[in-house]
Symmetry: D2
Subunit: 252 residues, 4 copies
C-alpha cells in the first residue's frame, strides 16, 4: 500500500515560488507539507518534522549549504536555484557518494514546456537549414535574452553539429540598427518585451518550402508547479545527482 | 454599358513583378493588356496601342520619366517603384496640374495585407502601452529590417504620439549581444531570416492582461497582384497624385 | 482647472468584474470611487455620495432598472451587462430624451482588443476571398462558440457583403465528424477549449499567395479595465445612448 | 571512397510529386537519376539502367506490384503511396524474407516536419491536461480533417493513455452549430480552409498557467523532398520493411 503521503519540506517558503510550491504540495493528495522554512528559520525543524524530500527554492548563495545539509540528514533534495558551477556540483556528488540511495535534482527550469521545447529543438535542429529564437517577456525583465533562450540556442547548436550542418544561411549586408538580434552559439536570438506577457519562447525552423515551430507560453508562475511535483515524486527513484528536469522525463 | 475592357500597358514587363502583372491583367475580364514593354523597348508602342493606364514596374531611375511621358500622352499611371523624393513627386504634381482628370498612383507596397497592417497598427497603437515588430523574410534578403517594418514603426509612433503615450516600458539593463533588436522611431524591430519564408510581418501590442497581434504573410509574389489590379481599376477615379495604395482603399 | 476627480459609483461591486472595476477606479488619479454597491444595498447611497457616473456590472435582470434610476437622478451610466433587447434600449432612449446632456454607454465587451479585432475584421473582410475564426477559451466555458466570435462573424459578413463577395470557397465533400466547425453568417467558426487559457480570438483571412491575421488574447479579467475607464471618462462627452465601446473610440 | 553516386529510378515521374522527386534527385550530388518512368512505361528500363533504389510515387493500385518487382530484381524501394493494408504489407514482408539485405520504406508522409510534429505530440501529450488540433489547408481540399491530423490525434491519444490521463476537460453544454469540431480518438480536431494556404497543422497543449504549441507549415510540395532524399539515402541501411519515415530518423 502506498497510502502514506510523502513528507515534504519547502525552503524559501516565503518567496513567490516558495509560496506556490507550499500550496501545490498541500493540494497534492500523495504529498504532505511537514515544514515550510523562510530565511532565518532553523533547518532543524525540517529534520524534526520528518521530511523525506527537501525542496530548495531559496537563493544561489544558500542552496549548496541546504543541499549538503539535506544529504547529511538522509533526505532527498529538489533544487530550483540557478548559478551552480562545476565545483559546487562536485561537492554535491561527493556527499552523495557517501549516501547511497539518496537523490538530488537540480533543475534551473521547472517549466515542463520549456524543457520539452529545448529537447525537441535539439532534435528538430538536425533537419532544418535555418533556426532562430524569439523570446517574449514582461517589460520588467532586466536581462536579454532570457536564460532559457540561451540554453535553447545551445541545444540547437548541438543538434546542428550532430547533423553536420554549417552556419545558418544569412545574406544580410545592411543592418545599421541591429535588427538581426543577438547571436548565441551561432543562432540568432530576439527578445521582445511587452506589457501583459509573462514568459514565452518561440523556436522557428525553416527549410525549403516549410517551417516548423515550437512555442511555450508561461502565463503564470503556477505553471512551474507540475515540474516541482514531478521532481518531488521522482527524486527517490533517481539516486545520485541529476541536473535538469528532463532527466526525470520520458522524452525518448 | 461597361463592357469594353480597359486597355492597359505594363512597363518593366520582363521583370518578376512585371511578368506577374501581365498575367494578372490578361486574366482579368475587365482589363486588356495592349502593350508589354521591356527595357530598351520604345514607349511609342504604348501610345499606339491605345493604353489608358500605364503600369510602371521598372526601376527607380526610369520611373519618373515614364510617368511624365504617360501624363504627357494623356494616360493614367500606376507605379510600383520605391525611392521617390519630394522633388520628383513635385514634378509629377506639376505635370498633373496641366492634365485635369488624369490620376497617378505611386505605391511602394502593393500588398493589401501590408497596407492593412500598417493602417490598423497606427490605430491600435493608441490603445496599448507596449508595441514591437517582428518581420520575417527569406535568408537571401540583404537588408534588415525590411522597409515595410520601418514604415510600420513610423505608423505606430504616430499613433502613440496622437494618444499622448510616452516611451514603451522596458527595464532591460543587460543585453550584451543586442537581443532587443533595432529601435526605429522608438519601436523595437526584430528581423528573422529563415529558409522557406517569403515576406512576413507581425505587429505585437501589449497592455495589462492582454495582447493584440496583427500578422501579414506573403507566401508568393502573386499576392501583390490584387493591389496592382485595384490600382489599375481605381486610378481614373482619383485625379491628381496619390501616394500609397491606402488612398484607394476604404479603411474608415 | 480639471483637478477635481470625477466621482464614480460601481454597482455589482462584489462580483469579479465589479471588484476589478473598484480597484481600477481607485487607482486612477482622475477618478474617485464614492460608492460601491453590492446586491441588496440601497441605491440611495449612490445619490448621497454625489456620483456623477454609475458603472453597472450587475446582472441583466437588474441593469435596466439601475440605468433608469441613474438617469432619473441625473447621472451618466456605463453598463457592462449583455442581453439588452430593443424594447429595453427604447426605454433607455426615452428616459434620456428627457435628460439632455446625460450619456449612457452599454458595452457588451469592454476588451478594447476585442473591439479593435471586430472593427478591423469588418474592414479586412472586403479584401480577402477567405475568412475563418478560431476562438480559444478555458475548458470551463459552457457555450460554443463565444459571443465575441459570433459578433465577429457578423462583422465579417457585413464587410464581405459591402464588397460584393459571395460565399467563401470550400470544396469539402467529406467531413464525417464535423471538423469544419460551426457556420455563423456564412463564416466557419472553430472553438478550442484548453486548460491554461482565458479568452482568445484569431481571425484568419486568406487570398491568393497571402494570409492576414488578427489575434486578441485576454490573459486576465484586468484586461477589461482600460475599456471600463475609457467609458467612464468619455460618457459625459457622448450625450444619449451609445451601444458598443467602439462608439467612443477613434477607429477612423 | 564513396564517390560513385547512387543510381535511382523514379516511378510515377510524370505526376506532381514525381516531377519534384526527379528534380531533387538530379540536384543531389550523391545521387544519380538513371530512370524516370511514367504510366505505361516498361519497368524493364529500370533494371537495365542499373537502379539500386526505386522510388514509387505512383498510385495505390500500382504500388504493391512495383515494390514486389523491385525486390525481385534486387532493388531497394522507397514508397510514397497511402492505402496499404495489412495483407499487402504482409506480401512485402514475405518477399523481403527471401531477399536479405534489401530494404523497403513505405512513408505515407514525407514531410519531415509533420513526422516531427506527430512524434513530439505523442511525447508532450503525457504532460498536459488539454490537447487539441487545428489543421489548415487550401480550400480545394475535399476531405476534413486531414489524414495527418487524424494520425496526430491518434498519437496524442497514445501519449495520454501511456500517462494514465483521462478525457480532456470540456464543460461545453451548448454548441448548437458544432463549433467544437470533430472528435478523433478523444481529441478535438478543427479544419480551417483558406485561400493562399497549402498544408499546415497546429497542435495545442494546455496545462494550468501554460500552453505548449507545435506547428508545421508546408508552403510548397518541394518541402517533401528532404524526406524523399532521406529515404533514398537510408533505405540500404535498414533491411526489411519500415513503415513511416520516423523509422529512419533519430528522434530519441
Amino acid at each position: 500500500m502506498t497510502s502514506t503521503p510523502l513528507p515534504v519540506a519547502v525552503l524559501g517558503a516565503a518567496g513567490r515560488m516558495g509560496r506556490e510550491a507550499c500550496r501545490a504540495v498541500e493540494d497534492a493528495a500523495d504529498l504532505e507539507l511537514v515544514a515550510s522554512i523562510g530565511r532565518g528559520d532553523d533547518l532543524e525543524a525540517v529534520a524534526e518534522a520528518g521530511a523525506q524530500v527537501v525542496v530548495d527554492l531559496t537563493v544561489p548563495s544558500a542552496a549548496k549549504g541546504n543541499v549538503l545539509w539535506a544529504i547529511e540528514h538522509g533526505m532527498h533534495a529538489v533544487v530550483g536555484t540557478t548559478g551552480w558551477d562545476e565545483q559546487s556540483l562536485g561537492e554535491v556528488r561527493s556527499a552523495l557518494a557517501g549516501a547511497p540511495g539518496l537523490g538530488v535534482l537540480i533543475a534551473p527550469n521547472f517549466a515542463i514546456g520549456a524543457v520539452l521545447a529545448m529537447r525537441f529543438a535539439e532534435i528538430a535542429a538536425r533537419y532544418y537549414e535555418s533556426a532562430e529564437i524569439v523570446e517574449l517577456h514582461h517589460p520588467a525583465k532586466v536581462d536579454a535574452p532570457s536564460g532559457t533562450a540561451r540554453h535553447t540556442a545551445g541545444a540547437i547548436a548541438r543538434g546542428r553539429a550532430a547533423a553536420g550542418l554549417g552556419p545558418v544561411p544569412d545574406a544580410t549586408e545592411q543592418d545599421p540598427d541591429g535588427a538581426r538580434g543577438a547571436v548565441v552559439d551561432g543562432i540568432h536570438v530576439h527578445a521582445v518585451r511587452l506589457r501583459g506577457l509573462v514568459a514565452h519562447e518561440e523556436v522557428l525552423f525553416g527549410g525549403t518550402g516549410e517551417q516548423f515551430t515550437l512555442r511555450h507560453d508561461s502565463f503564470d508562475r503556477v505553471s512551474f508547479m507540475p515540474g516541482v511535483l514531478l521532481g518531488i515524486r521522482e527524486v527517490s527513484r533517481h539516486p545520485g545527482l541529476t541536473v535538469g528536469l528532463d532527466g526525470y522525463m520520458d522524452l525518448g
